[in-house]
């Protein structure tokens, strides 16, 4: 008997006969329905009970597809009937499930054409709930099991199932929302398709205008974003390179202190740097007032606009470039540099003709990363932008402002998407292959060439300036939380912390009185839910990419890494457009936040997984297979345990990223599910800087604790490598 098929038939039947078919109004975790008329109440009834009561008759074919595989439960896998029946039951079942979901919505038929053909339905339905989800899963795995039985990927049920699962998730939560957004950009306000309207919106003056060249007006937002992103890409790459060189090639003992810098952008919510810049250079900023007093001039708002955003983004993203380039610089084989020097090249010539060209792909990579990050950044432009509009903020105001023009938001999102996707495509195209090749085991006994003087000294100066600036910025963040009113009254106070995080006691025990607690707990809860799911999806995908061969692997890889190039604001807009209506009714729930985190951060999990899996000898898997374990068992018993450090890293990383994210979140939060970052942004918009900064400090401390704890734990994990006595001494 095929246990896989039996399992999924059971799951499907459970979904159809036991669990509520439609989405529950009170959210996934409420179990009110159990006491409230289940199983007959139409809102809570499972599919079976709906049909028995003569309701929602269009669900009737579904049990047929669910029961079909019972026919072949005892058939051998070699039996051609086996795979045909599974493929048909799964494929058609899935298709029918989705088709009915998309065709019939809360107002009956979703499309005019159905009403004309079939007449008025006189009924309606809500979004998929537990029941429908389980049935969908069952259909998906019928299909993959059937495909596996046809001999795809050596007939491996686990691998084909995982591939199908990831493809399903990516299609549903990345491709569908984005395509849906494209289609809504093509519609006018009445829902009719109009390509000319789209073109006129797309090429509007507001987006592409070039007034800044000729007159004293601002250019279109697309140009603003592009100029900003180019500047940020170039400057962060340069700074990152300088830092990487100093960290690895200067011979300076303190150079290792630079490494912790790489943690900063991870634990800092993106707009916090912007806040600090305001405290320093804003109208009532410390530096501004100091300089104004000194020169006897009036303080200006110079920092609002391009200069401010540029500074903030440079501070935020240089560590990312550093992280990329430190690997690249270390990857340049010292023996090549030594070879060059024995051929009588000077240090400078060696650097210019050997080291630098070898780093070129890495430099391009860092540039593109900086470019994409800058394009996608939402927090800094929001707090520092002034009149300098960029795409990401413009999208936001199109949706939440007085305009509430979803079509416009969609068009802007498409422009933004085109930029980031082009950069992403360029990166994959030129460098994709190179980015994974790491220096491996082969000993290279050379000593890295030390830097030529003319590079070394300017580098030191830059690093020193940047380092002290970063210290000042973070100092401002901590200090700013204790200041009464910035710019007016600089006396120290705990006021902001008390307002935000006050704790009282009442009859029920501890009472979290502070205004920030709600969003704080929600954030922790949602981040903690999203982290393991992100890590799991990421690692499974990484496993498929590194260890399995199947047709369409390149497309699969592109699809899964795609979300990296989709800015958060775009995801935000796409999600509210796609998940506001059945069959997937998610807006206003915590689920939509969790989903957005999973798919925004999935590439991080994938990269962590790929990096660590590439270091695992493939013969370990093969040994396990020849010893009679199947792929699932091999994955569980060999690969997962050996990847523990990567798993922990992915967990922490996605947790922290979920806590600091803002761009997608700001579209998706609701009164019930408010997140820390959107709460802070709200304070900033009310000019309530004190609380905003105090809260940010708390977040940074929480995340710093999380990251340090993990590093401690992972650092101690038993790797099974022999520790030579010399290494055992702490150095």
């Amino acid at each position: 008997m095929s246990r896989t098929v039996a399992l999924w038939v059971t799951v499907g039947l459970l979904g159809f006969c036991v669990l509520p078919w439609y989405v529950l109004e009170d959210g996934l975790w409420s179990f009110e329905w159990l006491r409230d008329g289940y199983p007959f109440d139409l809102d809570y009834a499972p599919g079976l009970f709906l049909l028995l009561q003569g309701e929602k008759l269009w669900l009737a074919p579904i049990p047929f597809f669910l029961l079909l595989p019972i026919l072949i439960l005892n058939a051998s896998k070699r039996n051609p009937l086996f795979n045909w029946i599974l493929c048909i039951a799964g494929g058609l079942g899935l298709f029918y499930l989705l088709a009915q979901g998309f065709s019939i919505g809360i107002r009956g038929w979703n499309a005019e054409i159905f009403t004309q053909t079939f007449g008025d339905l006189g009924d309606r339905q809500f979004g998929f709930g537990y029941g429908a989800m389980l049935v969908g899963a069952a259909f998906l795995f019928f299909l993959t099991t059937g495909i596996a039985a046809r001999g795809v990927v050596n007939g491996d049920v686990f691998v084909v199932g995982s591939i199908g699962f990831v493809i399903g998730l990516v299609s549903l939560f990345i491709l569908y929302p984005v395509l849906n957004m494209l289609s809504s950009a093509l519609q006018d306000n009445d829902g009719a398709y109009s390509f000319s309207l789209f073109l006129s919106k797309f090429f509007s003056d507001k987006i592409w205008g070039l007034h800044c060249v000729t007159e004293n007006r601002s250019c279109g937002v697309a140009w603003n974003s592009l100029i900003l992103a180019l500047c940020v890409g170039a400057s962060t790459t340069l700074l990152g390179l300088v830092f990487a060189l100093v960290a690895t090639r200067s011979g300076l003992r303190q150079a290792h202190l630079l490494r912790p810098l790489t943690v900063l952008p991870i634990i800092t919510p993106p707009f916090v740097i912007g806040l600090a810049i305001i405290l320093l250079f804003g109208l009532s900023g410390a530096v501004t007032t100091f300089v104004a007093d000194l020169l006897g001039t009036n303080p200006t708002r110079w920092v609002y606009g391009l200069p401010g955003i540029l500074i903030a983004q440079m501070l935020s993203f240089t560590p990312i470039a550093f992280l990329v380039l430190i690997g690249v610089v270390e990857g340049v084989s010292p023996s090549m540099e030594e070879a060059s020097q024995t051929l009588r090249a000077s240090r400078w010539q060696t650097f210019k003709t050997v080291s630098l060209p070898l780093m070129r792909p890495g430099l391009a990579n860092a540039f593109l990363l900086g470019f994409i990050e800058s394009m996608a950044d939402f927090g800094n432009p929001l707090v520092l932008g002034g009149n300098y509009d960029v795409l990401s903020t413009e999208i936001f105001f199109a949706i939440v402002g007085a305009q509430n023009d979803q079509g416009k938001a969609a068009v802007l999102a498409i422009v933004l998407l085109i930029f980031t996707l082009s950069a992403f495509y360029a990166q994959r195209r030129w460098l994709g292959k190179k980015s994974y090749t790491t220096q491996t085991g082969k000993g290279d006994s050379g000593i890295p060439a030390s830097l030529p003087r003319r590079i070394l000294f300017p580098s030191y100066v830059l690093v020193a300036i940047w380092g002290s600036f970063t210290l000042v910025v973070y100092g401002m963040i901590v200090y700013g939380g204790f200041v009464e009113v910035w710019g007016l009254n600089h006396s120290l106070t705990f006021k902001h912390y008390i307002t935000a995080f006050d704790i009282g006691f009442n009859d029920n025990g501890i009472h979290f009185k502070g205004s920030a607690w709600d969003s704080f707990w929600t954030t922790l809860k949602i981040a903690a839910t999203a982290a393991p799911l992100t890590a799991a999806v990421g690692l499974v995908t990484a496993y498929l990419l590194v260890r399995q061969n199947f047709t369409g692997k390149h497309a699969f890889e592109f699809g899964t890494m795609l979300s990296f190039a989709i800015p958060g604001t775009v995801i935000g807009v796409a999600y509210i457009l796609a998940f506001n209506v059945p069959p997937l009714e998610l807006t206003g729930t915590g689920v939509i936040l969790v989903l957005s985190f999973i798919f925004r951060n999935m590439p991080v999990g994938i990269r962590a997984g790929i990096a660590s899996m590439s270091q695992l000898d493939k013969s370990l898997d093969e040994a396990s297979l020849t010893l009679g374990a199947n792929t699932w068992r091999t994955f569980r018993e060999i690969i997962l345990p050996l990847m523990r450090p990567a798993i922990v890293a992915a967990l922490v990383f996605s947790f922290v990223r979920a806590m600091t994210a803002i761009s997608a979140v700001i579209f998706l939060v609701s009164a019930e599910h408010n997140m820390a970052t959107s709460y802070i942004i709200g304070r900033v918009e009310n000019n309530d800087y004190g609380i905003a900064i105090a809260y940010s400090t708390v977040l940074i401390v929480v995340m710093l604790t999380a990251v340090s704890l993990t590093q401690l734990l992972v650092g101690k994990s038993k790797t099974g490598r022999r520790v030579s006595s010399a290494n055992a001494q702490p150095v």
Binding site: G628, I638, L642
Partner: protein
Amino acid sequence: MTAQIESKAASVEFKQVTKIYGSEVTAVDSVSLTVNAGELVTLLGPSGCGKTTTLRMIAGLEMVSSGAIFIGDKDVTLLPATDRDVSMVFQSYALFPHMNVFENVSYGLRVSKLSKQEIADKTNTGLELVGLSGYGNRLPSELSGGQQQRVAVARALVLEPQVLLFDEPLSNLDAKLRRQVREEIRELQTNLGLTVVYVTHDQEEALAVSDRIIVMRNAAIAQSGSPRDLYEQPADSFVADFIGEANIMEANIEAVDASNELATVRLGEMQLQLPSRGIQPGSAKLAVRPNRILLNQTDNGASLPGTVHKCTYVGNHMEYVVSTNHGDWFAISDDVDNVKEVGQSVFVSFRDRGPVLLPD
């Protein structure tokens, strides 16, 4: 100790098996071969000739592009590795670094859901067989290379596989250990009556351990036979040269006798009577092992005159290069006391059963 490691040895048969990687690389080209139950067969050949690919197809780690594979009487062509009763000892040993020796060896038994007691018994028997009882609690990283190798062997053995595969098992060991380990492997194989397919590129190793050797070249089988057959009766100059060194010279077959067995061969001034091996009159090649060459002071009627061109003392024998009108000959002499000087003139002749005719 009650558990016994037994042999369920089965034969392996390839029928016209081809493996093509991507669309370009033909790693194995229409190979048919048979390995009998209880036999140790070595796949020997230069790097890249398709040995590992052949082995991995037996294991089920690669799927054939065309052809069929039988283990015992069962067609396993479409079965993946998990479902084949074949174990493999990897070149890198592939011990699971997060499991100790006991857990490594018992892994396959646990997967096959044996009882706790059985697992423990079999694992201990396996460890005893390879001389590692008492090492169960060590991590692989706490063992020497030779010990790791034995753990890998034990791990494969305890499953009592129908076929046991070795991919260059000695390549990570130092020279001294190699001889010892290869003898241990051979002993285990004969004692337990296992079917073993063994891959190596080292001809000496192959000659030492095998019941039968299959020499591969460019994705195909060049020759298969017992070590002695291959050494003494190579089918062509590739095999002659690959297995042991050989002087391969142009020669001319003047006539073949009526029974088609003896050929009259001319090599310069020399005329020889040799088994014809089915080769017809005309030009042919002659292969002579260096230790089958005699260097005499006098002409015995069937010899080539030449001069010593190089002379090297390598401890237990002498190596000479002798120039004649008919090419340079590489010869080995056990006589390290009467050394021939460079420039000295000598006569080259062959021992009985020395030269072998090869097709041109």
